[in-house]
Amino acid sequence: MKCKEFRDLISEFLDGEMVISIRDEFLIHLLSCEECKKEFSVYLKENIMLRKFLQDVDPPSGMLLSVINMITKGKINKEE
């Protein structure tokens, strides 16, 4: 595997989308190429950082109640 191909596949690897047939080749390259190892570590760090930051966000309380109220109002208006 060439460095360019390896780098294009980093995203797939981090998302768990890499097909098994390429994975071995990918890992062999990772272990044998110092430059790509550094590159990989940067994306890995980015991934960890972003996953930490982009966590689930709590919706405001009462958000759903407003939806239910709007539906109920809508139903009443339709019936009228």
């Binding site: 940067v42 991934n47 930051f53 966000v57 709590d58 919706p59 405001p60 759903l64 239910i68």
Partner: protein
Amino acid sequence: MDRKLKEKIKKAAKGDLDAFQYICKRYEKKVFTFVYHLLGSHEAAEEVTQDTFLSVYWNLKNLKNIEKFEPWLFKIARNYVYQYSRKDYSKKEDFFEDGNGAKNGDVDMDYTPEEHLIKGEIGDEIKKAINSLDLKYREVFTLAVVEGYSYKEIAEMLGRSIQSVKTDIHRARVKLRKSLEKYLNEGKDEV
């Protein structure tokens, strides 16, 4: 999809409000999170999430395959996000929160010292970097990294090819890496 959810969807499609509430409770956080990361604002996310669930209620009877409920739900949310961003496009500067972290504080989480550091010092930069991505990159990236959908599921949801989803997620990572370079390169040579 579990049996209970299927039952609730069937009932909600016939107008059962209790069943609909069950569905809303089950998905409100997921949808709100997705929308929030695309629009970068709590107020916008609230409005869009409400519109999404209203649309779900009125249109659920038209959903042909219950198994596809989740991608269908996210497709509706996504359409409202695009509508919302077009509506406010001229005010885009005000539209995104300014990255000073005030809204980040609304997220209720316990932080370790390391996480605190990330949130305080780098959090704003990450937010700016995410908001600087085109919506099409933010969308696929959020679905994959935050919501944990596979490339195949995202492709189905958005009506795109798996290859184009894959390419855009990779491009999003490359762009974010450039924006966050100074933080990411620390210790790079020590590997």
